[in-house]
Amino acid sequence: MKSYILKRLFHSIFVLIGISVVVFIILHLTGDPAALLMPMDATSEQVAQFRKEMGFTDPLLVQYWRFFKGTLHGDFGLSFRHSQPALDLVLERMPATIQLTITAMIIAMIIAVPVGIISAIRRNSILDHIGMTGALLGQSTPVFWLGIMLILVFSVTFQWFPSSGRGTLQHLILPAVTLGMFSMARTARMMRSSMLEVLGQEYMKTARAKGLSPRKVILKHALKNALIPVVTIVGMELGTLLGGAVITETIFAWPGVGRLAVQAIYNRDYPVVQAAVFLLASIFVLVNLIVDILYTYLDPRVKLG
């Protein structure tokens, strides 16, 4: 077990280094970061001056090493627009993104798990058809359109929820539902197929043959086993949610990291872009590391490879 955790930890560190390389390369894709960073109307002398100041004339490896040392200290440079450390700006917005993502995840799971279970137990019933058609629709709906339609119905027409900003619980509902929809749909379908698989197992027959009530058979025996594969995808779903947050936050003017990153991209504020991308990717790696380690405790059958 210990060696597995160590191996997994080492692996995560490797991925983090890979992430830092990619984040570094983004800025150098055009070959001339100075031209990218300077305003459009800067003279060529100004650009040359800036190039020297920023050390863009050094060999790429030297520059990467400098960038890497910076990230270890949490130093991504100053935001060009806000003249504040880029990392501080990102960290300031982090709680909003975490709040939104976790709420979306909770809404998705609270609805998806029962829908999946009912669909599996009442297979081919009307409930099953409604649930699975809904799931298929949910998986096919673009996040950005869903957000706009929810605003149209619930903010513009009925005026039940505000269409933008953060503050009260009301502000949270629409963005969280928008963000959670895709994961909800995918999890419901997965829960259903996982449950169906468990229901066909021999030990379910045994449980029923013992004379246990149907409710007990399902809740005690089937559900516990059917949930295992669903738990593992929670970590992977988080990646989907963090990515979806970029668009959801933009639509609902939610003051999170995703919106900050998109604005920074439009403003060519690359230190902020780099800090935001690096941090979001790191969170994903960290959560998956934790999920993997927890999983070995949850399901002893898992191969420690």
């Binding site: 359109w145 339609m149 149209l152 513009v156 990646g239 970029v246 439009y266 060519r268």
Partner: protein, 305 residues
């Protein structure tokens, strides 16, 4: 006499049954599945619209007409019979723009999917066949890539490189290879130990021959299934990029761009944002249904995708 006639008919019928080709069998199975039929109609409809856009569009999709601004769709007050789904803020016909929008959507997503399928399949074949260092390098690369919120990485790169058709296809293509590589690699890992591979090797067949003549044909079915399911994701991705202003630039009509325009006029003119999203959803739903059917036909093991 009657009996003989009947017998002849029966025999004839059996003969006909035997003559049914494999293609007809597949077609019959397809027609049994209502969802797949709907999917096929959607997919063919979009391809048809994309190819014959100039012939079937009622109006010029780019032509602006100030006097016809924001006309509502049929069934509303103050409609114009020439504009079924109304007009946008520049007086352009929504129907025509939706039809032309299919072009960008199809060209970008098909190119990106083909590119990523090619890249991923080659990497998967080599990774699985040779194993060792090549394998671990590519698989770690896959881990790094999966750690990024895909959309954030894509918009960062496109913002740096500039939003043109070529860049968008390359970025979307590169971000899509992982799933093909993983599935193909897993398949190859089990295939390479099979007797027939040993036999080819014993007969002096080169590695290249084994990979391309004997392993490749076996990984085609799962790759086709992934291609269909990835098409849906790429259509949404292209729309998301256009929605954020990083897709193909105006005045070329794109579904995502129409949605972004419509968002501004949401309170007064709901139809601007509603119809493009509805089209995206229906097309993606169609592709998903067709993809699910294909998966069940070709490779039921891929249910996790």
């Amino acid at each position: 006499m009657n009996f003989l006639e009947n017998a002849a008919k029966t025999l004839d019928f059996v003969g006909e049954e035997r003559r049914v080709t494999r293609g007809q069998k597949v077609l019959r199975k397809l027609l049994e599945n209502k969802g797949a039929v709907f999917g096929l109609i959607m997919v063919l409809g979009v391809i048809f619209s994309a190819i014959f856009a100039p012939l079937i569009s009622p109006h010029d999709p780019i032509l602006q007409d100030v006097e016809k601004r924001l006309l509502p769709p049929w069934g509303q007050v103050g409609t114009d019979p020439n504009y079924l789904l109304g007009t946008d803020h520049l007086g352009r016909d929504i129907v025509s723009r939706l039809i032309y929008g299919a072009r960008i959507s199809i060209v970008v997503s098909v190119s990106a999917v083909v590119f990523s399928a090619f890249l991923g399949t080659i990497i998967g074949l080599f990774s699985g066949f040779y194993g060792g260092k090549i394998d671990s390098v590519f698989m770690r690369l896959a881990d790094v890539q999966l750690a990024f919120p895909f959309i954030l990485l894509a918009i960062a790169i496109i913002a740096v490189l500039g939003p043109n058709l070529q860049n968008i296809i390359i970025v979307m293509g590169i971000t899509g290879w992982v799933i093909y590589a993983r599935v193909v690699r897993a398949e190859v890992l089990s295939l390479r130990e099979k007797e027939y591979v040993m036999a080819v090797r014993a007969l002096g067949g080169s590695n290249g021959r084994i990979i391309f003549n004997h392993l490749l044909p076996n990984v085609v079915p799962p790759v086709i299934v992934i291609i269909t399911l990835e098409m849906a994701r790429m259509i949404i991705m292209e729309a998301a990029l256009s929605f954020l202003g990083l897709g193909i630039q105006p005045p070329t009509p794109t579904w995502g761009g129409m949605l972004a325009d419509g968002r501004v006029y949401l309170i007064t003119s709901w139809w601007l944002a509603t119809f493009p999203g509805l089209v995206i959803m229906l097309v993606v739903l169609g592709i998903n249904l067709l993809g699910n059917w294909l998966r069940d036909m070709l490779d039921p093991r891929l249910t996790q995708l």
